[in-house]
């Protein structure tokens, strides 16, 4: 399958991953593809969903599962502070299923998105998840949100530009 120049649909996402040799599991019916991730402390799976009703591709990386009910308020506060502070917000909390995640919604114009740029943005989702992974886990484990974020931001030095390295996976 040739590497697409632009990503304009689910088939192009798959073609790009295959051309770049990125291992993935596809779920054609839902237009979801799952990528295993292992980047620093961030280990798990990232999902790319091609939306059918709206012109978006959604990239989601779950970060902390099974947040204790009594830590949901602190997690919500932490995610709020984080989204306000960073350049590419998208952290969220599913308050019913009690997990925290990073979710990037990419608006895709009718002609699609340049394939290299699409890849960069998918990696930005992974990088954000990685960069604040320990802070969010710390909050889940009892740390105060402000302290956990201060540490994470200090370690970063500054909020980062997205990586362009597929091999970050």
């Amino acid at each position: 399958m040739p590497r697409p120049e632009r990503v304009a649909g689910f088939a192009d996402v798959i073609a790009l991953l295959e051309a770049d040799g990125v291992p993935h599991t596809r779920h054609d019916a839902q237009k979801i593809v799952e990528l295993a991730t292992d980047s620093g402390p961030a280990k798990g799976a990232m999902l790319i969903r091609w939306e059918t009703e709206v012109p978006y591709a959604t990239v989601i990386h779950p970060i902390v599962m099974n947040v204790a009910p009594e830590r949901l308020a602190a997690m919500t506060e932490c995610v709020t502070l984080l989204n306000h502070a960073i350049l590419l917000p998208g952290f969220g909390v599913d308050r019913d299923q009690r997990f925290a995640y990073f979710r990037l919604v990419l608006p895709i114009e009718p002609a699609g998105m340049q394939a290299d740029f699409f890849r960069t943005m998918v990696l930005a989702c992974l990088n954000n998840s990685r960069d604040f992974w320990l802070a969010l886990h710390g909050v889940a484990n009892g740390e105060a949100p402000e302290g956990a974020l201060r540490t994470a931001l200090a370690l970063l030095g500054q909020t980062k530009a997205p990586s362009t390295l597929w091999k970050d996976n």
Partner: protein
């Protein structure tokens, strides 16, 4: 001739001028301020062209002067709404205590199709409008967990009213 693709701040301003959109521009900050009035929502849309990263930020302040004791509840409401909607971006400014909608749109090196860019800027204002009443309610004492349901009821009422007026015609 209005630009067909938006690749920078100048294109953004040119498109606004071509569309006859009232705005105030701040060249130093690469930002424009557009007064908005949509249904119950009256405010401003700020669009900032990021100099160092490939992003455009569309920011719509929604409710101001949130009492200290309502901050956690508004955070909860934002989190609940963000998790449910296709295009998340509600957040709270922790020090000045206001809620806003912020859409960070990644822009590929070749820019974004002008009509699609316009659509995304409108999406930011529409989200602010659609959840303004619900968030204001939370500020005034309603539970944050119910904000989504309140917004959905309001949307249904608006749709019903629109359908009614069409029927009368």
């Amino acid at each position: 001739m209005p630009p067909t693709r938006i690749t920078g701040f100048a294109d953004m301003v040119e498109l606004l001028a071509a569309d006859g959109v009232t705005h105030v521009k701040n060249e130093t900050e690469q930002m424009v301020q557009i007064p908005t009035e949509l249904g119950p929502f009256k405010g401003n849309l700020f669009i900032r062209w990021d100099r160092t990263l490939p992003y455009v930020n569309a920011i719509c302040p929604v409710v101001f002067q949130i009492p200290e004791e309502r901050m956690a509840e508004v955070e909860r409401a934002c989190m609940r709404i963000n998790h449910a909607i296709a295009l998340p971006g509600f957040c709270v400014e922790p020090e000045q205590r206001f809620a806003y909608f912020r859409l960070t749109v990644p822009i590929e090196p070749g820019g974004m199709e002008a009509s699609f860019y316009r659509l995304m800027m409108m999406a930011a204002v529409h989200n602010a409008r659609d959840f303004f009443v619900a968030l204001k309610g939370v500020v005034d004492g309603a539970p944050g967990e119910e904000a989504l349901a309140v917004a959905a009821q309001q949307a249904n009422a608006t749709a019903a009213a629109a359908a009614g007026s069409a029927f009368e015609e």
